[in-house]
Structure formats: C-alpha cells, structure tokens
C-alpha cells in the first residue's frame, strides 16, 4: 500500500472517530436505516437509482437506493427515538464531477426540540473539531446576492436575473425560470465569492427552495425557508432545515414534486407513505442537517476532487 493511500485511510478513519466521539459525548444515538427502500425521493432535481426486488418470499416490487436517510430517520424520530445521527452511503444518479460521486457518505443528524440556530452552533462546533477552529461569516441569501451579484433575489425581475445569468455564464437564458436563474447565479457567482470568506453560513433561502423545511417571513416580509447551508472555502458542505412536521403539507409537497417531475418528463416516484403516517402520528418539532462527509475529507486533506479522497471513486470503479 502506498504512503498516500495509507495516509488517506488513516485520516478518514480519524475523522470518523472524532465524529462518533462528538455525538457520543452529546448523547446523540447512532442509527442505521435502510439504504434500499420502496419509497424514493420525489425531489424533481434529484435522480434515484431504481431497482427491482425479485424472488424469495417477497412480492416483486420497485425499490430505490436512498438519496438521503431523511425519511427513515424521521420515522424513528416520530416513534420517539430522541436525537439521532447516521453515517451511511447515499446514492444520486447522474452526479459525477470533481465535487460529486453517485455514491457518497452522508452524515445526517436530527435534534428534537432544537431551533435551527442551536443546530447551526452544533454544526459549527463539529466542523471546528474536524477541520480546526475558524470564524464563520453569516449571510442571508439576500445579502449574499446583493454582495456578489448586485441583485435582490426576491425583488429583481426575471429579465434582470436572466441577464445576469447570460453575463456570467453565456447560457441561453430564455427557458430559465426564477429558481433556475437563482441556482445558476449561486453556483457561478455567489459560491466562488465564498472562497475568500472561508466558512460561510447562508440562511433564509427563498420559500421556493424550501424542500422539506418550514417557511417563515424575513424582516422584509419575504417568505423564506427555515434552512441554512454551510460552505467551506466555496464548497457546499451541509444543508439544514427546521423540519416540516405537518403531514398534509408534506403529502402536498410530494404531489407537487411528482407533478413537476411529469412536466420535466421524468418518471414518477413512489413517495414514502409511511413517512406521512408517521407525521400524522406526530413528528416532534426538530431541526435536522445533512453533511457530505467525503467533501469534508476533501477539505481536511486540501484535495481538489472527491476522486482523491475516495477509496474507489466512480472514475476508478
């Protein structure tokens, strides 16, 4: 074994140990939930690996490799598990790049009774232990756009957003809707600007990008998602929500997702019906966060790509 591979394995194992000790000290329970299940992510912008269960004593059925352990972990929370975390593989189809691998290690944890701000403090404390202490710049989504793009993401016209997209990327912007423009601008202009800021907590995303987060009003009366993202040196590392707990709202978002999938010509995904049942039983108010652990290893080793920090990346299967 080469020194390089050996030091990678040691570093990775060390980071995993620190993470497990961190949660053990804080009384958060490690859990393992299925990576393969009959419910998939309906998110129109995520593609699942879909497979088929055949034979044995079970009925043949469609199964999804999980894009995140969220649904199963929420079912545990609804059953009264208390604070839990999981370190496990997640799968997203079609995602291969320097910063993406179709299989990756996710660290996900939930804090019943905690606000999003309390979770943010805990997330920063963990990252300080893993990467060394540093200061954090807190920016709202709106502030970051005003600084880096010079546009207010809530007030700017669609034409102005499209013009900014063309200017920074040369894209054919005619077909881009508001959220697509915001996604393009954040990835092409805002995130690169975060490089010089080190660690950035970005919060108050537009309500249209709430996914499974609650929505509230910001100081200017805009509907914003109770969600934050942590960036380290321009790399998107973690995504957190004040979790949606209303069963009917969750069911409505699943339906809306599948309607949008139909419009995009994508296949329909069977949602996790048992999650809806669990929410009906009652999910405690909680905040939750998912952190890309392989990206964290990348940052710890100052690597330029995931390929450098994975034992066998998709480029070397």
């Amino acid at each position: 074994m080469t020194d390089k591979v050996n030091s990678l394995l040691l570093k990775r194992a060390g980071l995993l140990n620190v993470t497990r000790l961190f949660f053990a000290r804080r009384g958060v329970l490690e859990v393992n939930t299925p990576v393969l299940g009959p419910g998939g992510s309906t998110d129109p912008l995520l593609d699942s690996f879909v497979t088929q269960l055949e034979g044995g004593s079970a009925q043949s059925q469609t199964l999804y490799l999980q894009t995140s352990p969220e649904f199963y972990m929420k079912r545990l929370l609804a059953a009264g598990s208390g604070p839990i975390y999981q370190l496990g593989p997640c799968f997203r189809n079609g995602e291969v790049s320097r910063r993406h691998n179709p299989e990756f290690l996710m660290l996900e944890w939930y804090r019943p009774g905690w606000s999003l701000v309390e979770l943010e403090h805990e997330c920063c404390a963990l990252v300080d232990e893993l990467l060394g202490a540093a200061s954090y710049t807190r920016l709202t989504y709106r502030e970051a756009f005003l600084q880096q793009v010079g546009l207010d993401p809530f007030a700017a016209s669609l034409d102005a957003l499209r013009a900014a997209c063309v200017a920074c990327s040369g894209i054919n912007a005619e077909q881009l809707d508001r959220d697509a423009c915001l996604d393009l601008l954040i990835s092409h202009q805002v995130e690169p600007g975060f490089k010089k800021l080190g660690r950035v907590v970005l919060y108050e995303f537009p309500a249209s990008q709430a996914a499974l987060a609650q929505v509230h009003q910001d100081a200017y009366g805009h509907a914003v998602a109770s969600r934050f993202e942590l960036y380290v040196d321009g790399l998107e590392l973690a995504n957190a929500y004040q979790e949606l707990t209303a069963a009917d709202e969750q069911a409505a978002r699943f339906q809306a997702d599948n309607a949008q999938r139909r419009a995009l010509g994508k296949e329909q995904i069977s949602p996790d019906t048992k999650l809806i049942e669990a929410l009906q039983q009652g999910l405690p108010e909680c905040s939750g966060i998912a952190l890309g652990f392989d990206r964290l290893v990348m940052l710890a080793l100052q690597a330029e790509s995931l390929d450098e920090v994975l034992t066998f990346s998709a480029l070397r299967w």
Binding site: E95, I171, I186
Partner: protein
C-alpha cells in the same frame, strides 16, 4: 449532423456555436445539493483558436459539427495552397490555405504525415507531429570542444524557422525538434 445532449458532452466533442465549429476541452458538472444541474463547458473555437466558456442547462443540446481529424501526407505548395493527400490509399487531396496552415508552416516537410482538421470537407487547421526532423540550412560555425552544456546559437531550417541550438551543431546536421514548444531536442 446529430445533436448532443448535456449528458453526452465529453472532451473532444466537436459542436457548433454561433456558426463556428468548436471542440470541447473540459466539462464540469455543477449542481447545488438542492437545485438545478448545469454543465459548464470550456471549448476552443476551431476557426479562431479562441478559448471560451459556456454553461448549459441540464438536458440542453448542441448541434454536432461536421469536423474530422484525418492523417494526411504533405505533398507541395503552389504558393497559395498547401496540398495534402490522404494516407488511406484513396490518394484524395485537399489544399489548405495559409490561415489553416498557421504556425505549422514552420514545421512543413514533404512526405511527413500531419493531422488535417476538415470542417464540411475543407481544411481549417493542420497539426504537425509532436517531433519532426529537419536539416540546418544556416548557422554560425561549430565551436570545437564544446559540449551539450554551455551556450546556444540560432540555426535556420529550410522552412525559415529559427531554433536555438547548442554551439556544436553545424550546417547540414539533422535536428529533432519538438513542434509543440519549437525547441531543439537532439541531433537526429
């Protein structure tokens, strides 16, 4: 020509952009964790040589460019065109103009094989082999006792190109040149 969607993009793919054939150099998949995917392409415009970047929405497509790289042997020039012949036994010939030939004029040699890039059947660029052997037509006399170390001097090749060579090189010597850097490698 066929269309290529973003999931078919790869390095070397030739495509049309604003009326010019371009070649993809680098492709980057960009996707926020909760957001839309984009494909950022670094490309070279094959007509101008200019390098640019452009982002595509996932699922967008580009029109393929009828561009082919073909090995061809250099025959002769009539002063206006430089004539190359296919090496596949078809004896088919094309004439490249000075613009298509570009810097390769410095490394032209009869019977040598070059990569000729054809766009809609017409040559738009000519790429020399990485190494080429050419004789020295003119240089200052060699200095006795000099070795590979020490100084250098200019030497002129039959194409008019001038390369820096060690002092021991004489007129008539055959030189191996790296065409990518234009530097002398060794005596051949």
């Amino acid at each position: 020509m066929a269309n290529f969607a973003t999931n078919e993009f790869k390095g070397g793919l030739k495509f049309m952009l604003e009326g010019d054939p371009c070649s993809m150099m680098d492709i980057e998949h960009i996707k926020p964790g909760k957001g839309q995917a984009f494909t950022r392409v670094k490309y070279r415009n094959l007509m101008t040589g200019r390098v640019g970047e452009k982002t595509f929405k996932s699922g967008d497509s580009v029109e393929g460019a009828d561009v082919m790289d073909i090995d061809m042997e250099y025959l002769y020039t009539d002063g206006e065109f430089w004539h190359f012949m296919k090496t596949d036994g078809s004896f088919e010939q094309v004439g490249a103009d000075a613009r298509a030939l570009g810097e390769t004029s410095k490394w032209l040699k009869e019977q040598e094989v070059y990569m000729v890039t054809l766009y809609n059947g017409a040559p738009i660029s000519v790429t020399p082999p990485n190494f080429i052997v050419l004789p020295v037509t003119e240089t200052d006399p060699g200095v006795k006792g000099d070795t590979a170390q020490g100084g250098s001097k200019p030497a002129t090749l039959p194409t008019g190109a001038v390369v820096r060579v060690p002092l021991f090189v004489n007129e008539g010597d055959l030189l191996k040149i790296d065409t990518r850097t234009g530097e002398y490698v060794s005596r051949a």
